[in-house]
Amino acid sequence: MPDIGGDPLFVLEFGDILHYYTPYTITLFLLALIFTGLAIASRPERQIDIAFGGDAYYAKETTVSEMRFRRFMAIACGLATLGAMGSGDLFNFTLFVSLVGIANIGIVAAVKNRHVLDAAYEYGIVAMVATLPLFGGAALVVATTGTLAIPALAAGGFAVPLVAKAFLALGVIGEGMAPFYAAKAEMFRAPGAPYVIMCSLSSLLIFLRVVEIVITI
């Protein structure tokens, strides 16, 4: 069992597939849970914007339909992140990570604004392309070691190729690019809280988890 995140606290077995939590992953899991709760409970901000050519400013409103869709996507993103935090199976981890990427596209793309949609489209391309190294990394691991179980790989005795680890990290970085697109100038036009925060949080958490996995296996 990986111990760089502390001694394992809890192991949940689904046949030969494991979910496990260390102090490290439980910290990440709880943070994802809290922010998912906040995404459910919070109403969106009313972003203040300046009208060009004068001193006027106004507060933007988010329509109910847009709010519902973005909230749904934020919750989906939170659930996928929760899964990725505890997964002890490399393939399940990559699946959860790609789900995070898809949900992040949805959070950004729900805003009916040309500039925001452009940013979402660009991020979507990156996220889709990133699935190649992501699943490729997992495939290389199973091809060379015969297992995808992280505890088994962490126990030693397997020579996981460095390129597989690099592919996994690269795939997660690609999926986790959302905050950088969310930080683009175009995105200032869209009210962000609390949904864009789920993009940032999920991206950061999957990055933190893959660091643990790559060091461990």
Binding site: D3, I4, G5, G6, T22, P23, Y24, T27, L28, L31, I34, F35, L38, A41, S42, R43, P44, E45, R46, Q47, I48, D49, I50, A59, P179, F180, A182, A183, M187, F188, P191, G192, A193, P194, V196, I197, S200, L201, L204, L208, V211, E212, I215
Partner: protein, 281 residues
């Protein structure tokens, strides 16, 4: 338990006050008294408190509590000698808290501060390379194991100085009035903190104090090793004063320059980690 938290927050605020004082003296100004940050925290605790009409109210309040929660957890991780991976995860999650502060209010100043906190995520990458470098030597990321390793082999500060320098820069990037303090620079009023006032701002002061204490205490434990508590406090103060000198003589970088400098540090650290990976048995 609570006495540890109160001490850490108060000592951290005192260090931040000292930080302002040193910067002022280097710049030939009198500067505020060293206990000014503690006074600020107390003052804000009794000022009127409300939530802006444009804010996402639950998030606006919740993010303050999350900030206090994560740094309290970080303090106990350090005191218990648990995995530094948790500590650095919390450090990175602080970015989300800053982002949450900025985005929740609806204010463009807060939003710019929050977005800058996202683009300054470049400052966190050297941290992970630092962790990797430490792991090459100690074969463990548990703080108690790292301290035990140093008791046998000597301080990591001497064994892996590039890792210590990288973490020093990481702490520098979290200090106010420094070259990388783009998230709360003056052209954004107070950046992500702009719209949080009253008790919420007092909460931010507690977060800042605890964060400063935890990061400096972790630096001492990771790179120097075990020592009496009073000695750790003295060394933390010395490290902070050195950081204050850097802040005093360095102009604040523009956001893109800040990211570029941190990116260069990351590349250097990746090179160092690669060399370690190559030469270590």
């Amino acid at each position: 338990m609570i006495e540890y938290l109160v001490f850490a927050a108060a000592f951290g605020l005192l260090l931040l006050g000292l930080h302002r004082k040193v910067i002022a003296r280097v710049q030939l100004r009198p500067g505020p008294p060293v206990w000014q940050e503690i006074l600020h925290a107390l003052k804000f605790s009794f000022k009127s408190t409300w939530v802006p009409k444009t804010a996402s109210a639950t998030l606006y309040v919740g993010v303050v509590l999350i900030g206090i929660g994560i740094w309290s957890a970080a303090l106990f991780v350090v005191l218990a000698g648990e995995s530094i991976l948790i500590l650095f995860a919390i450090y990175m999650l602080h970015k989300i808290v800053e982002h949450g502060f900025g985005l929740s209010s609806g204010s463009p100043y807060g939003k710019f501060g929050g977005v800058r906190s996202v683009i300054s995520a470049a400052s966190e990458i050297p941290l992970f390379v630092t962790i990797a470098a430490i792991y090459f030597f100690t074969d463990s990321l548990l703080l108690r194991d790292i301290v035990a390793y140093q008791a046998v082999h000597g301080p990591l500060l001497l064994i892996a100085p590039p890792a210590a320098i990288a973490m020093y820069i990481v702490i520098l990037s979290k200090l106010p009035y420094g070259p990388f303090s783009i998230v709360e620079s003056k052209e954004l009023v107070s950046g992500y903190k702009t719209e949080h006032f009253g008790v919420w701002r007092a909460g931010i002061s507690v977060i800042d104090g605890t964060k400063t204490f935890v990061l400096l205490f972790a630096f001492v434990a990771i790179f120097i090793g075990a020592m009496p508590f009073w000695a750790a406090l003295v060394i933390m103060t010395i490290v902070l004063v050195s950081l204050s000198f850097v802040c005093a003589v360095t102009p604040m970088l523009s956001p893109f320059d800040s990211v570029t400098v941190q990116g260069i540090v990351t590349l250097l650290m990746v090179g160092y980690a690669a060399v370690l990976w190559w030469v270590m048995p």
